[in-house]
Structure formats: structure tokens, C-alpha cells
């Protein structure tokens, strides 16, 4: 297979995974949510091709890896600038019920 064909195959693989995942999971989720959930599920468009949100840093070369970043503008995904990044605020202890748990997995 030519290099171009391999690249196309890779792209198609991502497309298949994306569309398959969206369709199967939205049907499953819709069925579990009932009518109210169905509206929210089906409101999500299905793009023609999945584009990775973790686009590689430009200019990376063999084993010369820069800090990868996510393309989203979300506050949690800013570029790390080549090093591990501390949070904007340290955690604070609270007396509220937890929404999630972090532990040995």
C-alpha cells in the first residue's frame, strides 16, 4: 500500500470510529434517558470527520517532543509551555459532598 493510501486508510479509520461511536452511543444514551434526554442527544451534530482535539505541536521532530496541548480554549487545557504546570489555585478542603473521587485505580 502506498504512503498516501495508508494515510487515507488512517483517516477513514478515524472517521469510522467517530461516526460509529456517535451513532451507537447516542442511541444507547437516548434509550436510557427517555424523551427528555433524546432531545439533548439528537441535538448534537455528527460531523463528517472526527478531528483530534489534541493536534500535535507544530515543529516536533523525532524524539524532540514539545509539550503537547489541546486545541480547545477551555481553561483547563491551556498549553503547558513545555513543562508541568501547576493549577491556577491550589485545592481547598471543603465540607461538602464530593462530586467525584480520585484514588488508586
Amino acid at each position: 500500500m502506498s504512503k498516501r493510501a495508508k494515510q487515507n486508510a488512517s483517516i477513514i479509520r478515524d472517521e469510522q470510529v467517530g461516526v460509529l461511536a456517535r451513532l451507537t452511543r447516542r442511541v444507547a444514551i437516548a434509550s436510557s434517558l427517555g424523551v427528555a434526554g433524546l432531545a439533548g442527544v439528537m441535538a448534537v451534530s455528527i460531523p463528517g470527520r472526527h478531528v483530534s482535539s489534541g493536534a500535535p505541536a507544530s515543529g516536533a521532530t523525532q524524539n524532540s517532543v514539545s509539550s503537547p496541548s489541546l486545541s480547545s480554549s477551555s481553561s483547563s487545557t491551556a498549553s503547558s509551555g513545555g513543562d508541568l504546570q501547576a493549577p491556577t489555585q491550589a485545592p481547598t478542603q471543603v465540607a461538602q459532598a464530593p462530586m467525584a473521587q480520585t484514588s488508586a485505580s
Binding site: 477513514i12 436510557s32 523525532q62 503537547p68 513543562d83 488508586a104
Partner: protein, 345 residues
């Protein structure tokens, strides 16, 4: 041009049936869904009830992507196919490129403490199946182990979007892929919905979008038994949090026990002064790299974490808790403040 299309099999570890919690269970206006996938627990929390289902769908798609791209337990994963062509340059997808790039970045940052070429070592120690199956199989034998090949052996070419893995080298992305997946999924879900979203993959927690009032509240524990009255609950407003521990994912070997955190220098499970490390960072990925590296580095973890500085909680083998860089003090814990801590209460 006719393109040969690779066969895509359903991800065997993904359960498409999240249990939706439509109630604001914590007293805060958030809504959550939980299920299992890829041998671990998955939880999605959204600040808007109507955006939860869309957020869940984004997370599930990202889970499928990471599984078919990076799993070492699937012979048909893209990573397995690259390894099967040992020594050759292989064109790869953007998804696999991203996960490999992250893994090599982690290795470089940690001077090899977090190394993706531990696949062979894990197999030799008996971790050659999905963990659920591993527990059912029974004790693994005893094998001679050796240092891992080293992350420098893996070559990545951004200009050609391709990679090269030496023949016989097996990659395990367990130290970075789950956290990266959580970050990617949370970012996607928040970008799509506009809501605040928390994604937890086996306790690797990523957040994106606006936080709920009071922040995202997270219980910090050591094992699946979290939920005791003594467990710490903390709040973060952004970023991520991860816990690495030798108390989970352990299995019997002929000569004792092994766990999934490998010291690349020996090829054996780590055996340092810490049993559990929790770190907060601006991303789940950064937090998980740091927590994993801390367990491997042992005593030098304190200077490593303090360099950034990352808020962290380290539990020693004797249960004493050391905190760094503003991690809140726990009144009920046997506690000491780590050297160089900033603002520890």
C-alpha cells in the same frame, strides 16, 4: 483510487449504558453519569442538566478512539499494528500521534521515570491481560526481568506523521493515556456544550468549562474503598487531579505480589517510600505524570514536585501524609509538610 479500509471492531471494554443521575445529588447544581469502560470506572459530571447526555456522548467517543488507537490488549489496535512492523516507519493517525507524543514528553520531563516502553516488563510480571481478566486468571509465574528499552528507542516524526518502534519493544501508555483521554474528553464536551464538565476515568480527573459555585468537589482516597468519614474532600476550580498508588491493580506472582507501576531502571514494580500520591495540576495529564513519577522517584519526588510547584499529597508506606505547595492540611491525618512547600496550611 480504491482505499483499503481497515476493519473496525467494537471496543470490547466499552459499556454503552451509562447510569444517569438526574438529581443534584451533592446539593450543588450538577448532574452526573457513571459507567465502566476499558476496565475502569467512568464518570461524567455536567453543570447543566440538558448538556449531560451530549457530554457523555463526547466522552464515549473519546474512549473508543483511545481504545482502538492505543490499547496494548487489542491485537487490532493501531499501536499493536505499529509494533507488529517492528523497526519500520509506520504512518499513524492524529490520535495515536497525540498519545505517543504525550508519552514521550512525559518521559523526557521525568528523566525516564515515566517511560512508555514498559510493555514487556509488565507482561513479564504477569500483566498481559485486561486487569479484570488478570484477576480471574490466578497467580503469574516468576520470570527474569531487566531494565526497559527506554523511551529514546521510540521515534516520532511529526513532519511525516509516522512512528518507529524497534522490533520486540512493546509500549504501554497506562501512565499517560487515561489522563490524556480525560483531558481531551472534558475539553470536547465543554466546547460542544458550553457547560462545565468533569470527566473521571478511574480517578484521573479532568475539568473544563465554568466550574460550579464552590468548585468541583473531589474525594481523595487510596483505594476503591473511598467514602469513609476520614477521606479528604477538596475543591478545585479548574485543571485536573490524579492519584497514583501501589495499593490498586496488584496481582499475585509466584514470589509475592506485583503492581502496575514499573520502575524503568529495574523492570520491576516500584518499591519506594510512597504508597499513594495525589497531585493537582492545570491538566489531568500533568497531574498524572507527576503522581506516577513521584512513586517511581521515591524520596527525590519531593524536589521534583516542588520544582513546579505542584500541590501534592504523598502517603508514605507507614501512612504518614506529606503535603506540598498549598495542598490543604488534614486535621485527622498523621501529617508533615514537605520541604519547600509554599503556603501549606
Amino acid at each position: 483510487m480504491k482505499v483499503v479500509e481497515p476493519a473496525i471492531n467494537p471496543a470490547p471494554g466499552v459499556s454503552p449504558e451509562p447510569a444517569i443521575n438526574e438529581q443534584a445529588a451533592t446539593g450543588m447544581p450538577v448532574y452526573s453519569a457513571a459507567w465502566t469502560a476499558l476496565g475502569t470506572s467512568v464518570q461524567v459530571v455536567a453543570t447543566d442538566r440538558h448538556d449531560l447526555s451530549a457530554a457523555v456522548a463526547e466522552v464515549q467517543e473519546e474512549l473508543v478512539l483511545v481504545d482502538v488507537s492505543t490499547s496494548r490488549f487489542r491485537a487490532d489496535s493501531e499501536l499493536s499494528m505499529v509494533e507488529a512492523k517492528g523497526g519500520s516507519w509506520v504512518d499513524i493517525s492524529e490520535t495515536l500521534f497525540d498519545y505517543i507524543e504525550v508519552a514521550l514528553w512525559a518521559a523526557r520531563l521525568t528523566h525516564g521515570a515515566v517511560d512508555p516502553t514498559v510493555g514487556n516488563a509488565l507482561c513479564l510480571l504477569g500483566y498481559d491481560l485486561d486487569f479484570d481478566l488478570l484477576e480471574k486468571r490466578g497467580p503469574a509465574g516468576v520470570f527474569r526481568v531487566k531494565p526497559v528499552p527506554g523511551w529514546e528507542a521510540v521515534r516520532l516524526d511529526a513532519s511525516g506523521m509516522r512512528m518507529q518502534v524497534p522490533d520486540g519493544v512493546h509500549i504501554d501508555l497506562g501512565a499517560t493515556a487515561k489522563a490524556r483521554c480525560a483531558d481531551r474528553a472534558a475539553a470536547r464536551a465543554a466546547a460542544l456544550t458550553g457547560s462545565g464538565v468533569l470527566v473521571s476515568l478511574g480517578g484521573d480527573i479532568a475539568t473544563a468549562g465554568p466550574a460550579p459555585a464552590g468548585g468541583w468537589t473531589i474525594e481523595v482516597g487510596e483505594g476503591p474503598e473511598v467514602g469513609s468519614s476520614e477521606d479528604l474532600v477538596v475543591a478545585i476550580r479548574s485543571g485536573g487531579m490524579a492519584t497514583s498508588s501501589i495499593t490498586g491493580r496488584r496481582w499475585a506472582r509466584g514470589d509475592g505480589w506485583a503492581h502496575h507501576l514499573i520502575d524503568p531502571a529495574t523492570g520491576l514494580s516500584t518499591d519506594g517510600p510512597w504508597r499513594t500520591v495525589t497531585v493537582a495540576a492545570n491538566r489531568c495529564l500533568d497531574a498524572n505524570i507527576a503522581s506516577t513519577a513521584a512513586l517511581v522517584m521515591g524520596h527525590s519526588a519531593l524536589s521534583f514536585l516542588g520544582r513546579y510547584p505542584l500541590p501534592a499529597r504523598l502517603v508514605a508506606q507507614d501512612g504518614v501524609v506529606t503535603t506540598l505547595a498549598g495542598w490543604p492540611r488534614e486535621p485527622n491525618a498523621d501529617w508533615r509538610r514537605g520541604p519547600g512547600s509554599i503556603g501549606a496550611s
